[in-house]
């Protein structure tokens, strides 16, 4: 009703309606043309936010209640501030979650990797361990006693030194709270601290504790002083979590948390006393790292693209992939691609007829146009999956892709007793708002239609569709038939993928309801040998994946390739990305030229 009521008064005053309509059209076209021209000339954050109703976070830096000298004035960045500080602004698509390093198991990884440190870092591309708080470690022959030697010069942000007691304190708090990624410490029986800088882990069973200690969640070390700072009785007192979530940190990393506004922005500032700055040849630092690192929440890829083009942000987490080729030509920008251990799978409800028939599942697997999906959904920035373990990770094998063969799919379907297609439509759910999942879903629908399978697509919120899938354990008929689903590992092991999604003990995520004792035994054995005999572990993982290939509890669709678009003056960006720590930019290795 709104717009045209405006013209009624005009009409009353004697302007004819025809004139009014013409004026209206002229105004509309004028506004559109002006907006288009304006955006083409010099895009700004304000002009683009108006176009996107989904943005709740204002992309302009709020200037209230700021704790740093830098943050109030930052709106166009990476230029030297009067104070001489260099600033890098990173746009994150999702809001930050919690700030408790023991229980956080979600988006806050983005800044926790800069504020907190684990004992070790892991570089999965070169399969190399990088020292962090521990300089070296030894493992006993049977793989159950791990000794870590800590560096002597590491300090927490409260000024106290990082000691073996602090390591024990942190990990024990994580274990006791038992939330988030606490399960990674399941093998640990006891933590001993023979001296101030030595930590010994006694395990219940052999496990790759070096990888576990380098986990992206649940492995952070923080100061025991938090109990005192929070005014709490002990480490597991809720007051400690509240203290963290009020925007405090007490890690030992190269940056400190100085502003915590999880819906809008998080500001980090260099911690001058970080041990790494002084180490000449440490790989994970740079002498011209930014003084201030800001994570700004910008919930829309198109807006992020505009902002990085205009220089309002320095690094965009997501831009529309179809624009990447054009962005590459912009001399002010750089496009960095890197492998990612995130993959997209389609879980199949293996207990709901007719999907309980393995021939039907195989038919579906052969009727999915993998190449087309990668082209359409990701503009080519993904790899067709080969098994549930993504490319580039150890445990990945190249010969596990299903062929796209409609004739074969039809034959399989006929053999299963459905020569004319399935008798009922299949319900496919995906996370609403995820454009890649949506495009994938639409192509699956279109393609399965060709072999006589009707697919009903239902976008749902993550929580909703996960609950729906959960209900399948009691009544598989009530759950969805097909579930499009991302997975990425907590720490880098094939076991993370295979156990969580396909072992029927894993009630949270085995949403294919797949139960195969032979498979379970294989992966458990493989996991056991990981720390002792890697070749044997690899072989067992391969066998396990071959079983999945035959049984088709899920169809792996594609492995993501990460794209970051940044201003050209952000140096060393490639090295700041590590697929073991998804979404994280290790700001301490960036080269930022002052005034650049």
């Amino acid at each position: 009703m709104g717009v045209f009521e405006v013209f009624i008064p005009l009409h009353r005053k004697g302007i004819s309606k025809a004139v009014a309509a013409v004026i209206a059209i002229v105004i509309i076209i004028g506004v559109i043309a002006a907006a288009a021209y304006y955006m083409a000339q010099r895009p700004t954050s304000t002009s683009t936010t108006a176009l996107s109703p989904t943005i709740s976070a204002s992309p302009t830096t709020s200037s209230t209640s700021s704790t740093t000298s830098a943050s109030p004035t930052i709106s166009s960045t990476s230029t030297t501030k009067p104070s001489g500080k260099t600033v890098v602004v990173y746009a994150s698509l999702s809001e930050m979650t919690t700030a408790d390093p023991s229980t956080e198991f979600s988006n806050s990884i983005l800044w926790m990797c800069l504020v907190y440190e684990p004992l070790l870092w892991y570089d999965p591309i070169h399969d190399k361990i990088i020292p962090a708080l521990a300089t070296s470690y030894e493992v006993s022959k049977n793989g159950t006693v791990w000794t870590f030697h800590l560096r002597h010069d590491a300090k927490f942000h409260d000024g106290t030194p990082v000691t073996a007691q602090a390591v024990k304190f942190s990990i024990e708090r994580t274990i006791k709270l038992g939330q988030g990624a606490a399960f990674i410490w399941d093998p640990v029986k006891e933590i001993k601290t023979p001296d101030k800088y030595t930590v010994v882990f006694i395990l219940k069973y052999p496990a790759p504790l070096d990888k576990i200690a380098a986990s992206s969640y649940g492995a952070w070390i923080f100061s025991p002083k938090v109990v005192e700072l929070a005014g709490a009785k002990n480490a597991t007192d809720k007051k400690v979590a509240d203290w963290f979530n009020a925007g405090h940190d007490d890690g030992s990393g190269p940056y400190r948390l100085v502003k915590w506004d999880p819906q809008n922005e998080v500001v980090l500032e260099k911690f001058k006393d970080w041990w790494g700055w002084k180490l000449a040849d440490y790989p994970m630092k740079s002498d011209s790292a930014p003084d201030v690192f800001i994570i700004k929440i910008v919930k829309d890829a198109v807006t992020q693209e505009r902002m990085v083009q205009s220089g309002d942000i320095d690094i965009a987490e997501y831009v529309p992939l179809e624009d990447v080729q054009t962005l590459k030509k912009n001399p002010n920008l750089q496009v960095v691609t890197s492998p990612s251990f995130q993959n997209l799978l389609m879980l199949i409800n293996t207990r709901k007829p007719p999907l309980d028939n393995v021939l039907v599942r195989r038919a579906i697997a052969h009727a999915i146009p993998y190449e087309d999906i990668v082209t359409v959904a990701r503009s080519g920035f993904a790899k067709v999956a080969s098994g549930p373990i993504p490319h580039g990770m150890w445990g990945h094998f190249d010969n596990l892709t299903y062929t796209y063969n409609l004739t074969l799919a039809k034959e399989l379907l006929a053999k299963a007793g459905y020569p004319n297609g399935l008798p009922r439509p299949l319900l496919l759910t995906y996370t609403a708002g995820d454009i890649y999942e949506q495009r994938t879903a639409e192509l699956i629908k279109a393609s399965l239609a060709k072999i006589g399978i009707t697919v009903k697509i239902r976008p749902m919120s993550w929580q909703e569709q996960w609950s729906l899938a959960q209900s399948g354990w009691n009544n598989s008929k009530a759950a969805q038939d097909l579930f499009i689903f991302y997975w990425w590992p907590t720490y880098i092991t094939p076991f993370d993928f295979l156990y969580n999604m396909f072992d029927n003990e894993s009630k949270s995520f085995d949403l294919c309801y797949y139960a195969n004792p032979k498979f379970n035994k294989l992966i458990e054995e493989a996991h056991y040998y990981e720390g002792i005999d890697k070749a044997k572990a690899l072989h067992l993982y391969y066998e396990a994946q071959k079983i999945l290939y035959e049984d088709v509890p899920a169809v792996p669709l594609w492995d993501m390739v990460d794209i970051r678009v940044a201003r050209a003056n952000i140096g060393n960006l490639q090295a700041a990305i590590n697929p073991a720590y998804p979404t994280v930019i290790f700001a301490q290795v960036l080269h930022v030229k002052a005034g650049g």
């Binding site: 009703m1 717009v3 004819s16 309509a21 996107s52 624009d323 949506q438 495009r439 629908k445 279109a446």
Partner: protein, 293 residues
């Protein structure tokens, strides 16, 4: 109300004004296209979203693809054309359902009055207290995505306006002498309500309903854009705009043409509603009839 002479007068009034005529033409075209769209598609499979063509992604508008193609290589002209049907269903469905709830509530509240009337109107007020789009979003999110749910969600946030409008009308009409006369003659309440009061209370509702047809399309498009409306790959206009938003820098046409379709249709309904309002203005009508047009 619906006697041929009434419609005849209205049509004659509309014909006198080219802008009103434009509105009428747009609306008639919209309805006709909406009804026959599924039968005139040149690429029906692409329109319904069960076929795609990777080689033809992001083609700009050309004689072959007047509205270009989208990220799946589907012809946008066919998609937009089919979308007409969904918008038509939404316009008719939302307004129809809202009238179906709103008119009886307003009528009974106005005619019966007293405690029943108060109760009914307070319930109406409760619904009015929510911003309509917010209520619709909340309902759509609860009911789940789908065409029917979108229609129901919008209708629920919409009916109180009609109830209010009717209530006010009925209140002023029910004390008129002719209603008393009907009562004296011993006619039943239902007969009086539906035969004597309702027809005379309908004028403002008709205008409002015509106007709201456009708004319903707009709001349904808004819901789809926000991701709580019709699920993909349905070619609903709002959804098409929202899908194209991702690619707006690469391919403006994906969002532009469905957006244009929304603008034109809503414009048509607004112009028509204005014409209907004028046609129902007693003074204008009198002048017209006296002139013997």
């Amino acid at each position: 109300m619906s006697s041929p002479s009434e419609l005849g007068i209205m049509f004659r009034l509309i014909r006198r004004n080219p802008v009103s005529m434009l509105g009428l033409i747009i609306v008639v075209t919209f309805v006709i296209v909406g009804l026959i769209a599924p039968y005139i598609l040149t690429r029906p499979e692409e329109a319904w979203g069960i076929a795609y063509n990777v080689k033809d992604r992001f083609l700009p508008p050309s004689p072959q693809h007047p509205f270009g193609t989208d990220e799946y290589g589907r012809d946008m002209f066919n998609r937009v054309l089919l979308g007409t049907r969904f918008s038509l269903m939404i316009a008719v469905g939302v307004v129809g359902l809202a009238l179906l709830i709103g008119i009886p509530v307003g009528l009974i509240a106005g005619y019966v009055g007293g405690k029943v009337g108060t109760a009914l109107m307070r319930v109406t007020d409760m619904f009015l207290a929510f911003p309509p789009l917010l209520l619709a979003i909340a309902l759509a999110a609860t009911l789940g995505r789908g065409l029917t749910n979108t229609i129901v969600a919008l209708a629920i946030s919409w009916w109180p306006w009609y109830a209010r409008l009717i209530f006010v009308q009925v209140n002023s009409i029910k004390s008129l002498p002719y209603v008393d006369a009907a009562r004296v003659m011993g006619l039943g309440s239902l007969t009086i309500m539906f035969k004597h009061i309702l027809p005379n209370a309908l004028t403002p509702i008709t205008v409002q309903a015509a106007l709201d047809m456009g708004s319903a399309i707009l709001e349904a498009a808004g819901l789809s854009f926000l991701g709580v409306g019709v699920p993909p790959p349905t070619p609903e206009w709002g959804l098409l705009v929202s899908m194209g938003w991702q690619s707006i820098n690469r391919a403006w046409w994906i969002s532009f043409f469905p957006g244009l379709a929304i603008v034109i249709t809503v414009l048509g309904f607004n112009l028509l509603a204005d014409a209907v309002r004028e046609a129902m203005d007693p003074r204008l009508r009198k002048a017209l009839i006296m002139k013997g047009v």
